[in-house]
């Protein structure tokens, strides 16, 4: 029953019980609304540096298994739940969530009013916060000063991106994935379609990428502000028109920047599995899995040659783009799901089709998908 506090930059203090690592940690508090999929959510590199608040009150019910990781290392800075299930029940469970966080050195807090916290974050937007060390009494002024003075890191992508290229072989299309913080789900989907995948570090040059003879290039998801990712925009600019491009999440934002559009931080992040997104081409609305705190500004698209293909039904956020000039399209949400609904997995087929068509045409720059 060790005490722990969550102190937020606006001065809110939540007292709860510690689990996971005993150490303290600072990060940006955001809430995630999925009722299942905590393992995927906490292992999503896009959550790098975040203190994730789960809105569903019982977390850890089915434990941790070997399959549902979205990355091998956990990049979040903390986890906040109403109640941690200490003894999970599921045939695949190999360990408890609490044990995993302890192992990975990530602090957690439970038994706080997570709905109150969620409503606070909804009204004020993401807030910086600190999970104090387990059992430690705190000097509130000092902690508050620390939190308020904390600068969100700008090197998140380099933290989570792979340091060396690696293959994930298949017999089909050669896809080079630029890893800005890739979720395993994307690789799973590409491999399911038999793609021959090579994952490269975020700072790999366009030349090196093209030297891998890709049929297409996938710009992966990743954490943080797209404007912070050094060099990415230039690399993408060089790749435009060379090979079909598919962007997901941060990859979508970087692509938009490369085409001259602008991005901005959202007041409320989208993290969860129930975001309706309208595909403006088929007119069908899919429920999508999302995890983003930045968005592409629709106003900035004029003159970029980009066309909006997907929109969030509820807040009109730009959720998908395609280029009128190049063989390229991107989505803000996660078609690979994991966690969340798999309604949009057809986008991987679109990417394959785009690559096939491109090859057939000898790789022209025509708008065809």
């Amino acid at each position: 029953m060790t005490k722990r506090y969550l102190v937020l930059e606006d001065g809110s203090i939540f007292e709860g019980r510690a689990f996971g690592a005993e150490s303290a940690s600072v990060g940006e508090a955001v809430f995630a609304t999925g009722m299942t999929g905590y393992q995927e959510t906490i292992s999503n590199p896009s959550g790098c540096g975040q203190i994730v608040v789960m809105t569903y009150p019982l977390i850890g019910n089915y434990g941790i298994n070997r399959d549902d990781y979205e990355s091998i290392d956990l990049a979040i800075n903390g986890l906040v739940v109403r109640e941690l299930t200490e003894e999970p029940s599921n045939f695949r469970s190999g360990m408890s969530l609490g044990d995993l966080l302890t192992l990975k050195g990530i602090p957690g807090i439970q038994e706080i009013d997570t709905r109150k916290l969620t409503r606070l974050l909804r009204d004020k937007g993401a807030l910086k916060g600190k999970l104090t060390a387990a059992g430690e009494d705190i000097d509130i002024d000092a902690v508050l000063a620390e939190v308020q003075g904390y600068e969100l890191p700008t090197d998140l992508v380099s933290k989570v991106s792979t340091k060396r290229p690696y293959p994930s072989p298949g017999l089909g299309k050669r896809v080079v994935v630029i890893d800005y913080g890739i979720k395993h789900g994307i690789l799973r989907e590409l491999n399911k379609k038999d793609c021959d995948v090579i994952v490269v570090p975020h700072d790999t040059s366009a030349k090196e990428i093209l030297a891998l003879f890709p049929d297409g290039i996938l710009l992966s998801n990743g954490p943080g502000n797209p404007e912070d990712v050094e060099g990415a925009v230039d690399t993408i600019k060089e790749l435009l028109g060379k090979k079909p491009i598919f962007g997901i999440g941060l990859g979508h934002q970087l692509f938009a920047l490369a085409c001259g559009a602008k991005t901005a931080k959202m007041k409320n992040s989208h993290i969860g599995g129930n975001y309706p997104v309208k595909d403006l081409i088929t007119n069908r609305t899919d429920l999508t899995s999302q995890s983003h705190g930045y968005e592409v500004l629709e106003d900035s698209l004029a003159g970029t040659g980009l066309e909006v293909t997907h929109k969030a039904l509820n807040d009109n956020c730009v959720e998908g783009l395609r280029s009128e000039k190049y063989e390229a399209f991107t989505v803000q949400f996660h078609p690979e799901a994991s966690p969340g609904p798999q309604d949009a997995s057809y986008l991987f087929d679109r990417f394959i089709q785009l690559m096939t068509a491109s090859n057939r045409k000898g790789n022209s720059n025509a708008k065809t998908y």
């Binding site: 569903y56 109640e83 799901a337």
Partner: protein
């Protein structure tokens, strides 16, 4: 896509009477749907035979027909109204089956009436076992090995190939009527026979049992543009093998990983897309707890009990949205009515745990088999929400009103280990409490898992609850311990039990400690978006979201779960009360825990608290809201029972005061009040011991009516004819004591009369008097009521009106009251007064056009009856005759005696109306599901006291061409009156016995008044059960038989031979 403009009028078919498997959820769905269609500007024509519903209020549809849902009557209405379209998927199985019948009859094609929403071929594909299985095979979706069978031989062939256990599922039946699990040949013979009987197409599915799998449900919606969403998923705490309607269910799923969840979500969406369902659909799946293997169990291509639960669990109004989808609107263009600012094409996410527990009728049917299986037995359900699973389930437990507040059983400590194991291994209604008891004794969760197949996750939660009892015991009045206990959902009653104090003490202590709950909003989105919907549940955390408004408010207590004796009619009155409060300018706040009803639709009241109806939970709300007062008279006995404690805690009871309620309900006070008022009652006294009872009974003379005081629906009430029976009753049925007095009354055989009245202290408005077909002794809820009375003289009516007025004024009624009179030898006696809304309020309101609950509420709030434009006394009767016919669910309840008596047994009711009594009765009987045949055979076995009366009845049956079959004693009586009769053997005799006659369908009617009693061994019991099992109408009251006879007579042309000239010698 915009809504359709090529159709103007839409016919909606309701679900008819409440029966097990089809209850108030269809009133909720139907009401929502009708209002939703009206909102879009369509003319809505509604047919439903159930008068007790909000749905059949004239404001809900443009034209409301309370007529039998049969091909004959629905066709007639269709021809008259000429709707452009028909919406069949909102009236449960009844509505669907009717639509199919209409389609097959050709009338829809003939009149070019379009079926909206899900098309009939999709319905067929989902409902017909064979077609469904084929479809699943085509889709590559797994279904358990199964075979359609049409006879017992085919059943044996399947079992020889697959092995036991197998599940029998009759095609096209409600709540699995007639089905079950078979473990051996004997089970197979019995269940297959009954399944084939109940299936209208004589078809059953035999299926390999996958008992032990997790049972998971998805509530899915799809629109015409192929947008499809999952509104909610739910996990049954009980593994596959128990009907989901009889399972404890939790939402969302608790033990599924995202991968499993998405796999099953994808399957559900594929199915709804494949079936091209336009509207709502329920997919039930079985998931192997040890792998990703799953099976599709069932698909319901319509709104259902589960969709009502999902709507209340998430806030997402499925039926409302389904109705709009049916007229062409799509999910992506409709708003989510809960948030008001996001779209309906959205999957709700919860930040609380929902638990549903079924409410079973076994407290009334002691002899019934309490085992649970594939045939549903519950009459209703409760739902509770909490931020922990423990809180959620403990709140649900105390919502049941079974006197239980935690996971313990009365007398549990004395039970043997063997008995407890048995009751956990074989699922029954009390399994949860047996598990509690086992855990208390140290049985491990692994062992209980082995016995029950319940997931360890849930068992661990139960264990947390039981373990915490020890902590409670050791730490009385400790804040930290109490806080944790409240977060685990412990009731003050339980805290008091462990702390050796009273609930009231605990409550007061908590208030001093400021250990009180907060209220959280149900908003479909876990707080992600703002929501204005005032739908709340209580929990113990930091932030309270329910803010008291500046407006004066009134709290209305609902009636809790639907059970025998307290049905949807109380919800009807509750809703009308809420509307009247709003009209009077107050904020109406409702507290209720029944997910099936209209009253718990958040759009009905200004504020909805989905909470248990216990004093603790209600007081928390009152403390917060500080209302002007509380109205208890519309929530049935549930709400009335809280009045005492509420007033003791300083809460103002609006309407009839507590003192006056008590005067009507307390035997002795009532008796002295009657003396003063000058209204006679049958002789009777209160006994506090067995010997006292004998003395009293001898004094007033047998037969006597005995019952415990303060009862609901005539529970444990009996008519006894001799001292021996009395002794037996006193020793077995009740334990008389000064705390539990037993009432003994002279039993008067005579016409029973029922009156509802409204009083404001000066004026007594009597909307109507009803006469019962069955003589006194049959519970009023089980009697056929006739309005206006057909056999009463003007002076008798005046006497009744006078007595009613005297009772209303004398008992100081403010609001509604219900009185039962008996007329014996020309004298009117009062037998019961209920100082509250009654079962007949909706029936009478609809007939007389006097909105009784509304008038009563306004009167309670200070607007006199005169100001409302009504005059004192008996209101003028409209033209026509109206009957209310009870409907029973005996087919679902094995081993229940169907004999009508003072204990109520019916689950629902229908109305029949026409120009004559016989026509009205015909409609009522038909609507109640009886087949009225113009000719055939009637089987009679009556007790000695009825033999005289049966002679006249038999003569009349003969007159219209019925053949009379009778057992020996009855046959002799009839023969001696020169009636031709075929004698059939009693049970156990050689040759053709009456059981054979019933089983072979050789009798179309059975009249049986033999050996009343609860002993399943008795002949009378077996005969009556055989009739039920074989779907033959059985009458246990000579009066009901007589009514049926007069209906048949009125249908038949007379065929008297010409009179022969008398030969004058």
């Amino acid at each position: 896509m915009p809504k359709r403009t090529d159709i103007k009028s839409i016919l909606v078919i309701g679900s008819g009477p409440i029966v097990i498997g089809q209850a108030a959820e269809f009133d909720y769905a139907g009401t929502q749907a009708c209002l939703s269609l009206k909102e879009e500007g369509y003319r809505v024509i509604l047919i439903n035979s159930n008068p007790a519903t909000i749905m059949t209020d004239t404001e809900i549809a443009d034209k409301v027909y309370i007529e039998p849902i049969t091909l004959e009557f629905v066709s007639r209405i269709i021809r008259k109204e000429r709707p452009d379209a028909l919406l069949p998927t909102l009236g449960g199985q009844t509505g669907l089956n009717m639509a199919i019948e209409l389609q097959e009859s050709g009338i829809l094609d003939e009149l070019e009436i379009e079926i909206l929403g899900t098309k009939l071929d999709a319905i067929h594909k989902a409902e017909d076992r064979d077609l469904f299985r084929n479809l699943m095979n085509e889709m590559g979706e797994p279904v358990p090995d199964s075979e359609i069978i049409h006879n017992i031989d085919e059943a044996y062939a399947f079992v020889r190939a697959i092995g036991y256990p197998v599940i029998v599922r009759p095609a096209f039946t409600l709540g699995g009527t007639g089905g079950g699990i078979c473990h051996n040949d004997e089970d197979l013979e019995e269940i297959v026979a009954s399944g084939l009987k109940y299936s209208p197409v004589t078809q059953c599915l035999l299926e390999k049992s996958i008992a032990g799998f997790k049972e998971i449900e998805y509530e899915v919606m799809r629109d015409s543009a192929d947008n499809a969403i999952v509104v909610c998923n739910m996990e049954n705490v009980d593994a596959v093998g128990i009907h989901t309607g009889d399972s404890i269910v939790t939402a969302p799923c608790q033990t599924l990983t995202d991968r499993e969840n998405q796999m099953l979500r994808n399957v559900s969406l594929r199915i709804i897309r494949e079936l091209k369902i336009e509207g709502g659909c329920n997919v039930q799946l079985a998931l192997d707890p040890h792998s990703f293997d799953y099976y599709i169990i069932e698909v319901n291509p319509r709104v259902s009990r589960s969709s009502a639960l999902a709507s209340k669990a998430t806030g997402y109004p499925i039926a409302k949205i389904a109705a709009k989808i049916a007229v062409g609107l799509t999910l992506d263009e409709m708003m989510n009515p809960v948030t008001g600012n996001t779209y309906a094409c959205f999957e709700p996410t919860l930040d609380y745990v929902v638990t549903k527990i079924p409410r079973w009728p076994f407290d009334k049917f002691e002899s019934a088999k309490r085992n649970l299986g594939t045939q549903m037995k519950a009459t209703g359900e409760v739902m509770a929400m909490g931020r922990t699973f423990e809180e959620s389930i403990q709140k649900a437990v105390r919502s049941l009103e079974t006197g239980q507040f935690d996971l313990s059983l009365p007398g549990g400590a004395e039970m043997t280990d063997g008995w407890i194991e048995k009751r956990i291994r074989k699922a029954g209604d009390e399994r949860l409490f047996f598990i509690g008891e086992a855990l208390r004794r140290g049985v491990t969760i692994e062992t209980i898992h082995e016995w029950s197949a319940i997931d360890l996750f849930f068992l661990r939660k139960f264990e947390n609850i039981v373990r915490y009892e020890e902590v409670l015991k050791d730490n009385p009045f400790d804040y930290e311990v109490a806080y944790k206990a409240k977060r685990l959902g412990f009731a003050d009653v339980t805290l008091a039990k462990h702390w050796n104090t009273t609930e009231r003490e605990v409550y007061n202590w908590r208030k001093e400690q400021e250990l009180i709950p907060v209220y959280k909003k149900v908003d479909t989105c876990a707080g992600e978006y703002e929501s204005d919907t005032p739908y709340f549940y209580g929990t113990y955390e930091d932030e309270n979201e329910s803010v008291k408004t500046g407006k004066k408010s009134v709290v209305v207590l609902g009636s809790g779960p639907i059970r025998i004796g307290q049905g949807v009619e109380f919800d009807y009155a509750t809703v009308h009360c809420v509307w009247a409060i709003q009209e009077a300018g107050y904020e109406a706040i409702i507290v209720n825990n029944n997910p099936e009803t209209v009253s718990t639709d958040f759009s009905i009241s200004d504020k909805l608290y989905f909470e248990p109806l216990t004093i603790e939970d209600v007081m928390h709300i009152i403390d917060l809201e500080q209302p002007e007062g509380v109205i208890v008279q519309f929530g049935g006995q549930t709400a009335i029972n809280l009045a005492d404690e509420l007033e003791a805690r300083g809460v103002k009871i609006l309407g009839t005061s507590l003192e006056d309620i008590d005067r009507a309900e307390n035997r002795d006070k009532f008796e002295s009040a009657l003396h003063e008022i000058g209204v006679p009652q049958p002789l009777g006294k209160t006994a506090l011991s067995v010997s006292e009872a004998v003395v009293i009974a001898t004094e007033i003379g047998y037969p006597v009516l005995v019952r415990p005081s303060y009862v609901l629906g005539g529970r444990a009430m009996e008519i006894v004819y001799h001292e021996q029976e009395l002794l037996q009753y006193m020793e077995n049925a009740v334990k008389a004591s000064p705390e539990h007095p037993v009432l003994i009354d002279r039993y008067l055989t005579g016409t029973e009369i029922e009156v509802d009245a409204i009083c404001d202290g000066e004026t007594v408005l009597i909307p109507g008097i009803m006469e019962h077909i069955e003589r006194a002794g049959v519970h009023s809820g089980d009697s056929i009521a006739v309005y206006p009375p057909q056999n009463l003289s003007q002076s008798m009516i005046e006497t009744i009106a006078d007595y009613t007025k005297r009772l209303a004024l004398g008992l100081k009624i403010r609001g509604l009251m219900n009185i039962q009179f008996v007329i014996s030898e020309g004298q009117v006696y009062v037998i019961e007064v209920n100082p509250r809304s009654s079962r007949t309020v909706p029936f009478l309101s609809k007939i007389t056009n006097i909105p009784m609950a509304n008038v009563a509420t306004q009167a309670i709030l200070g607007k006199s009856i005169a100001e409302q434009g009504y005059v004192d006394g008996l209101a003028d009767a409209p033209a026509g005759v109206y009957v209310k016919v009870p409907v029973f669910s005996f087919a679902k309840l094995r081993r229940v005696d169907i004999t009508l008596g003072p204990e109520m047994k019916s689950t629902g009711e229908v109305m029949g109306k026409d120009s004559t009594l016989e026509k009205a009765l015909y409609k009522g009987l038909v609507a109640a599901g009886m087949e009225v045949k113009e000719y055939g055979s009637v089987l009679m076995t009556v007790s000695d006291k009825d033999k005289e009366e049966i002679i006249d009845i038999a003569k009349r049956f003969v007159e219209i061409g019925y053949r009379i079959l009778a057992t020996e004693g009855t046959a002799q009586a009839l023969e001696s009156a020169n009636i031709e009769v075929k004698t059939v053997g009693k049970i156990g005799t050689e040759g053709t016995t009456l059981i054979d006659v019933i089983q072979k369908g050789q009798a179309q009617l059975v009249i049986n008044t033999l050996t009343k009693g609860k002993q399943p061994a008795s002949d009378g019991f077996r005969i009556r059960r055989e009739s039920v099992e074989n779907g033959v109408p059985a009458f246990t009251s000579i009066d009901t038989a007589n009514a049926m006879l007069s209906v048949i007579e009125s249908m038949t042309f007379q065929t008297d031979a010409m009179p022969k000239p008398q030969v004058i010698e």
